[in-house]
């Protein structure tokens, strides 16, 4: 397996996805990103010459081996390995650790994120394939501190026990409700069948999704 001596680089902003980097994020920027964050303005012009929506590499990609991803509505530049999976990139380079590794190989759903609105297992999705597509993770659901109705109902109905499966469940539920605003119990089960919950918290998860549907 190939490797480089270059440490992982993160984009400005650490783990907060709600806008530009805050002071807290820079202080928190423990992913080797502090320097980049402080000099972020230097890259602003490069950003414009970056990859187009069709995935054609721009100047920045060609010169720094960085990809442009669109995650939770923000453009993020990141250096990736050829074989790197989206879950790795999200977690260790973009600081978005809400997406979990439960199995690493498409067996559990803990890593579920949305690509263009569809639920996918990010543990088995190459980061390079996400270029030019809209990626949404659990961190992208709340707006200005206001939780998404699915998040609210998961709190109320105790939708998470250990909650390791919860972010993935929420992303699958979101994809369902965006397509079908008034699902039956069976339809909810079908939508969540790719998300394993070892705590066996399924009844509460179903209830959470049905409650959210009523409110959305």
């Amino acid at each position: 397996m190939s490797t480089t001596d270059v440490p992982d680089e993160s984009e400005p902003g650490g783990s907060d996805d709600s806008g530009g980097p805050s002071r807290r994020d820079i202080i928190k920027g423990t992913i080797g990103g502090t320097l980049v964050a402080a000099n972020a303005y230097l890259f602003n012009n490069i950003r414009q010459t970056s990859a187009q929506g069709d995935g054609t590499p721009g100047v920045r990609e060609r010169f720094s081996n960085q990809l442009k991803l669109t995650v939770n509505g923000r453009e993020r530049f990141v250096r990736v390995e050829d074989q790197e999976r989206l879950a790795e990139t999200l977690r260790s380079k973009l600081g978005l650790t809400g997406t979990k590794f439960g199995c690493d190989r498409a067996m559990c759903g803990a890593c579920t994120v949305q690509i263009e609105g569809d639920p996918i297992y990010s543990c088995t999705y190459f980061t390079k394939d996400a270029v030019g597509k809209e990626v949404t993770t659990v961190e992208g659901l709340s707006e200005g501190g206001q939780l998404h109705p699915i998040q609210e109902s998961f709190i109320e109905e105790l939708g998470g026990q250990c909650a390791f499966c919860t972010p993935g469940m929420i992303m699958s539920a979101k994809s369902l409700l965006e397509e079908n605003g008034d699902p039956t119990r069976e339809e909810v089960k079908d939508a969540l069948e790719g998300n394993l919950c070892r705590c066996g918290n399924y009844e509460n998860e179903i209830e959470s999704v049905l409650t959210a549907a009523e409110r959305m």
Partner: protein, 809 residues
């Protein structure tokens, strides 16, 4: 509505928001500037010895910062070594590397050359008792120490000692060996032969309750940072704080005061992360080499190799019933197997036996057991370890014995359910309370038992229906632990508890009890959890005991706090302490109505000092408290009101025992072999329910896991190579959202308070699992009219019975 402000009512849990936003930090979510990534070199054999390990090529690789082998870590007795010279199972590590990224670490692992001497292996528990068969461990094939009590579940309590026992004259041709040789454990109540003489119906059967990997959703990841000052900080995934803290400190040979353990969220454990485990020590020893944070990211495969699981329990059970359905005699011969790295096959047996006495109260009994070692991963403990295997193994036996006696199985269950203070265990000591009979009755009502019984055996196309009943129990409360409550000068009440946060919300339930005891406003109560620096010392969060054990210790701390608050109010406002009450976050004079707020009282405590702020530790606590509890108060000493609590022998008289009674209806498709649980009722005697929503979640989750155990889950090893063959989730296989109950899953509580429990509470986590497993097994047997000796009941096993003509048609 509950008579209390908080106990018995639902609330928004303190960690709910973090769980749904992705903010909740699990061990692998912590990120560090100069982090190294660890991976291990694993044995490719079921049993082998590393003659030599050449790490030179790995060490020369760019990006590789540390390499350690078994020579760099302490030896372990029968427990799991951190790294092994002679790995006793496939996938057990011998060496580890730390590198700047995972890819480099993986490449370094590939570059390490191990010269293996392959040794004989045995993976079948009965096989290891055959004359001439290999021993799984160099010391022998059977553990011979004392079994661990149920309170020792997280630690792996059994004493490490081993011997070689082979059953020289046994006949191994049947399900259970005839004329077995020595057992290492024997319990007797009365004279079992007399009991069988008094029986009108005697029935015997052998059931193998299969091994199972735990598979919590979060694989066990750990980050460790060994500072240049020698202080070690560990971010891990654990069910517990106190015991994991001390356990991991022991593993890395440090006093606990030089170790900080942090775990704010654990992605499931179900017993397997009860306390410290060797994966925690691997990054710690690597970090010792370089004083940089080292992370080992657990993988799903590794969960199978060293993630624990459920021990095998093979039991030949014989019961005798008199004409009224009383169990006059129960005789069990059992073999337990907890793998190569645990002596807790014995604990599995004793926990199972204990539970059978609790649930069935036989007039006489003889239980004999022998534990064995096999070259399979450590499997202890998992949710109801022993109890739930025993529940599965006896369910079909009771069903058939009842039928042969011409009785309804429900009546036999009711007839033999325990008296409220009935006896339990080898010593026949009283339980603190027992309402299993009530649980069965509530379940029968919820599922409409009469209707289900009427449908039993009827056909609908290729499907045949059956109904089954079962029970399970667990010892779920302990004394001798510490509580700690701080009232800050801003009026906030802080509960510094030492259980972990594994998703049951019992840490929050403990705080609810404190709030009610202190007349505090919930909004001004803070639960601190997740760091050993602020944890009062308590038992681990396993054995369904947190609500009782930690509840009791912290309610006692809250009572101390109330006493202090009253004394301080009397000093401030006059009168005697007795004249004051606590309510609405104030200390109020019963007659005059004059009051001071908690904030004012805390300030008065600071002004007064002494015992009120723990500047002086009251005499009664000087000896009794664990020093770590006093250390956990250190930052609050002199800064607020500090109150300790200690539960003692005076607080308990008997075994705290929680029960579940379950009834399931199944359909079995004779053409496809598929079993569907159509409906289930699972009712629990857990004492007072503190938090109804999480009670429901525990019972449902337990029931679903229990269904998974009977129908899907297993852990299989190839006999010839000793290599595990189903180390993937879809092969092993935990139930999905489509796999548990197709109709209603009714759950509920008896709700009778326990006389010794805090607010009358007992525990809940484990019994609903065993009751569900047994009920499904009994229901399948009821549908088909034939018993299964091997589990899980997968479609192939059903079809085999159909083809063999064993199924009623």
């Amino acid at each position: 509505m509950s008579e209390h402000n908080y106990v018995g009512n639902d609330f928004e849990v303190p960690d709910g928001r973090a769980k749904v936003t992705g903010e909740a930090k699990y061990a692998d979510d912590y990120q560090f500037d100069n982090l190294l990534h660890a991976k291990t070199v694993k044995s490719p054999y079921a049993h082998a010895r590393a003659r030599s390990i050449d790490t030179s090529a790995a060490e020369a690789m760019s990006g590789v910062e540390a390499v350690i082998t078994h020579e760099d870590v302490p030896d372990a007795a029968i427990g799991e070594p951190v790294l092994a010279e002679e790995p006793l199972t496939f996938g057990y590590p011998v060496a580890a590397v730390a590198a700047t990224d995972e890819y480099t670490a993986a490449a370094a692992v590939e570059a390490i050359e191990v010269d293996w001497e392959v040794l004989d292996h045995v993976v079948d528990p009965i096989e290891t008792l055959k004359p001439g068969s290999p021993n799984a461990r160099p010391e022998g094939n059977v553990p011979t120490g004392e079994a661990g009590g149920e309170g020792a579940e997280g630690q792996g309590g059994a004493e490490a000692a081993a011997d070689t026992i082979k059953w020289e004259n046994a006949d191994f041709s049947g399900d259970f060996p005839e004329d077995p040789g020595d057992f290492t454990m024997e319990w007797n109540w009365g004279d079992v032969s007399e009991g069988f003489e008094n029986a009108e119906t005697i029935y015997e059967d052998t059931v193998k309750a299969q091994p199972q990997p735990t598979n919590p959703m979060e694989p066990r990841s750990t980050v460790a940072e060994w500072g240049t000052d020698g202080h070690v900080t560990i971010w891990g995934s654990s069910q517990s704080i106190s015991l994991t803290h001390t356990g991991v400190a022991g593993m890395i040979e440090k006093p606990p005061t030089e170790v900080t353990f942090i775990c704010n969220f654990a992605g499931g454990g179900f017993g397997s992360k009860g306390t410290a485990y060797p994966q925690m020590a691997v990054p710690a020893f690597l970090s010792r080499e370089v004083n940089r944070p080292v992370k080992i990211r657990g993988t799903r495969r590794e969960e199978f190799h060293w993630g624990n699981g459920r021990a095998t329990y093979i039991a030949r059970t014989r019961v005798g019933l008199d004409g009224d359905g009383n169990i006059t005699a129960m005789e069990i011969d059992a073999v337990g197997d907890a793998g190569a790295y645990s002596a807790d096959a014995l604990s599995t047996l004793s926990s199972g036996f204990n539970s059978l006495t609790q649930c069935w109260q036989p007039e006489t009994l003889r239980f004999r057991g022998i534990g064995v070692f096999t070259n399979t991963p450590k499997r202890w403990p998992q949710r109801g370890p022993g109890q739930n295997q025993a529940a599965l193994a006896i369910a079909q036996v009771i069903d058939e014995a009842a039928k042969q006696a011409g009785l309804d199985p429900l009546d036999v269950c009711l007839q033999n359910s325990p008296e409220n203070r009935g006896p339990a265990g080898a010593e026949r000591l009283p339980m603190t309370s027992a309402y299993l009979g009530e649980a069965y009755e509530l379940a029968a009502e919820a599922i409409d038992y009469e209707e289900k019984r009427a449908r039993s055996g009827t056909r609908e196309g290729s499907k045949v229906y059956g109904v089954g009943i079962a029970s399970a129990s667990h010892q779920s409360g302990y004394i001798g632990f510490d509580g700690l409550v701080v009232v800050h000068t801003d009026g906030t009440v802080e509960v510094r508890q030492g259980a972990g946060n594994l998703g049951t919300e019992s840490f929050a339930a403990v705080a609810r009890m404190v709030a009610d005891t202190m007349g505090a406003d919930w909004d001004d109560v803070e639960v601190s959890w997740g760091s050993s620096d602020k944890s009062s010392f308590t038992l681990g969060q396993f054995s369904s005991n947190t609500t009782f054990t930690e509840g009791l210790a912290n309610v006692k701390a809250a009572e101390t706090a109330v006493q202090y608050l009253k004394e301080l109010a009397a000093q401030e406002l006059g009168g005697t302490a007795d004249a004051y009450n606590v309510e609405n976050h104030e200390v109020v004079h019963g007659q005059s109505g004059e009051s001071i707020s908690f904030a004012e009282a805390a300030q008065a405590a600071v002004d007064a000092g002494g015992k009120y702020t723990a500047e002086e530790i009251p005499e009664q606590y000087q000896e009794s408290l664990v020093p770590l509890t006093i250390a956990a108060a250190s930052d609050a000493v002199g800064q607020g009101l500090v109150a300790f609590g200690k539960s003692t022998g005076e607080d308990l008289d008997g075994f705290v025992t929680s029960f579940a009674g379950a009834i399931a209806e199944v359909s079995v498709d004779l053409e496809t072999g598929k079993v569907v649980v159509e409906e289930m009722a699972n009712y629990n005697d857990s004492g007072t329910v503190i938090h109804p929503e999480s009670f429901k979640a525990q019972v449902e989750g337990g029931a679903i896991q229990g269904i998974g155990y009977t129908l899907f889950e297993q852990y299989r090893h190839d006999q010839d190579t000793g290599i595990p063959v189903n180390t993937d989730l879809y092969k092993s296989k935990p139930p999905s959202i489509h796999d548990y109950v197709s109709g209603d899953l009714h759950v509920g509580a008896v709700g009778e308070p326990d006389p010794f429990g805090p607010f009358g509470a007992k525990g809940v986590g484990e019994p609903p699992y065993g009751a569900a497993s047994g009920a499904v097994a009994a229901a399948i047997k009821d549908a088909l009219g034939t018993s299964f000796s091997e589990f899980p009941v997968t479609p192939d096993k059903v079809l085999e019975k159909v083809r063999a003509g064993e199924v009623d048609s």
